[in-house]
């Protein structure tokens, strides 16, 4: 059974944007994103830090994401109510008295590993040390291409998709899929204490798909390892290692004969039926080769768009199903099923239904 579409795991950090999207000269001065059903306005203050406010002016509900940044404040584009980064209203038009209730919620926000993370839930429980890491994305020893595609599908469908890579063979043939992916047994490891699901698929002698052949220059058969780490609910990393067939990592020392790619996905629920699919591909080879970057960016975006088409279609099927419709699982689904159970435990452990929980409070 898929997870219900209208349940979000709260008291969690989620990726709301890439840092480059907030305060970009090429984009809006205030960026609007909806995370777990909560519209959020993101902007940069004069010192460069990101602020996150509820995207709704208290006056006449105008979205702050359609407003302007002036200094460290956002000025509502409708009547000029002005908010600082804590959400406090500091100016209203035509009068000196600012109503005591003139305030919008502010969200805890951290910029890390190229992502802008926001905390959804009780702000007193926000602990930046709990943000899962993707250090490759901001490490000069790696070169990264990245993007985001919106899904018209519930977030749990993307979790299913990423935890079972056998779909590469059928959905992504010609890019990353080869017959060996679907044929190779997996090992699933679950650490409840660390809250991580790992799925490993090590292909000893596999066809080299175009994604790796063109980017690495490898030809012929390869050794291809896929080691997934999923930190529910938001961050997924595929540690990918490719090398000529038979070349294994040395007992000690650097793994110089192999090519390493870190494929990172941030899975951010937006609304009950929509999801932000943030993707990034970091590599430790051809670091300054712009042609390789362009190829990997275009190839991975194509792969993600293939997933978007499939998952959007799947959402229409799942949404129309009678309650209790069953599905069938086989060995390749072990990791996805384990992830579902871990997410179910997180949902079951939530303190109270969303409607009973306190609204986000301003950050001091």
């Amino acid at each position: 059974m898929a997870l219900p579409p209208n349940e979000f795991v709260r008291d969690q950090w989620y990726v709301a944007a890439y840092g480059r999207e907030v305060g970009s000269p090429d984009g809006p001065s205030v960026l609007g994103r909806t995370v777990c059903g909560e519209p959020i306005a993101l902007y940069r203050t004069e010192d460069g830090t990101v602020a996150a406010l509820a995207d709704r002016c208290v006056h006449r509900r105008f979205p702050l994401s359609a407003s302007s940044v002036v200094g460290d404040t956002v000025v509502c584009g409708y009547h000029g109510f002005t908010y600082d980064r804590t959400g406090a209203c500091v100016a209203v038009p035509g009068q000196t008295r600012i109503p005591r209730t003139a305030r919008v919620a502010a969200y805890p926000v951290v910029e890390q590993d190229s992502f802008v993370w926001v905390w959804i839930g009780d702000p007193t429980r926000a602990d930046a040390a709990r943000i899962p890491r993707a250090p490759w994305l901001a490490d000069p020893a790696w070169t990264t291409v990245s993007g985001m595609e919106p899904l018209a599908a519930r977030w749990s469908l993307l979790v299913d998709n990423l935890l079972d890579l056998s779909h590469e063979t059928y959905l992504h043939g010609g890019y990353i899929g080869t017959p060996e992916v679907a044929q190779t047994p997996i090992t699933t490891t679950v650490d409840d204490d660390a809250r991580v699901v790992r799925v490993s698929r090590h292909m000893a002698d596999a066809e080299c798909p175009p994604f790796y052949a063109r980017s690495t220059g490898l030809s012929g058969r390869i050794t291809r390892w896929q080691d997934i780490e999923y930190v529910p609910p938001c961050l997924y990393t595929l540690h990918s290692r490719v090398a000529p067939a038979g070349v294994l990592p040395p007992e000690d020392g650097p793994d110089d004969e192999a090519f390493h790619v870190e494929v990172v996905y941030a899975i951010t629920p937006s609304t009950p039926g929509t999801t932000y699919d943030f993707w990034a591909v970091a590599r430790d080879f051809a670091l300054d080769d712009d042609a390789v970057s362009a190829f990997l960016a275009e190839s991975n975006r194509t792969v993600v768009l293939q997933d978007v088409v499939a998952l959007d279609l799947l959402e229409t099927v799942v949404a129309a199903e009678p309650e209790g419709t069953q599905e069938l699982s086989i060995n390749i689904d072990t990791g996805g099923l384990a992830a579902r159970r871990m997410i179910a435990a997180m949902l079951a452990g939530q303190a109270a239904p969303v409607a009973d929980r306190p609204a986000p409070q301003p950050v001091p």
């Binding site: 059974m1 047994p185 997996i186 090992t187 699933t188 490891t189 679950v190 650490d191 409840d192 204490d193 660390a194 699982s329 086989i330 060995n331 689904d333 072990t334 099923l337 384990a338 579902r340 159970r341 871990m342 179910a344 435990a345 079951a348």
Partner: protein
């Protein structure tokens, strides 16, 4: 909804190469094998905390 897992510490389900068998191991050392991942995960979920093989 499937039952949340309640076992503690890392546990492993290994799909044995050349077969359709799943080999599940609890941190306590207990093992089971099966061909249905949901059944194997149910066994892990129901395996008593701090149990022994």
């Amino acid at each position: 909804m499937t039952a949340p897992l309640a076992v503690h510490g890392p546990w492993t389900v290994r799909w044995l190469p050349g077969s359709d068998l799943l080999d599940a191991r609890c941190p306590c050392g207990a093992r089971t094998t099966g061909t249905d991942p949901a059944t194997v995960l149910d066994w892990l979920a129901e395996h008593p905390r701090g149990g022994t093989p």
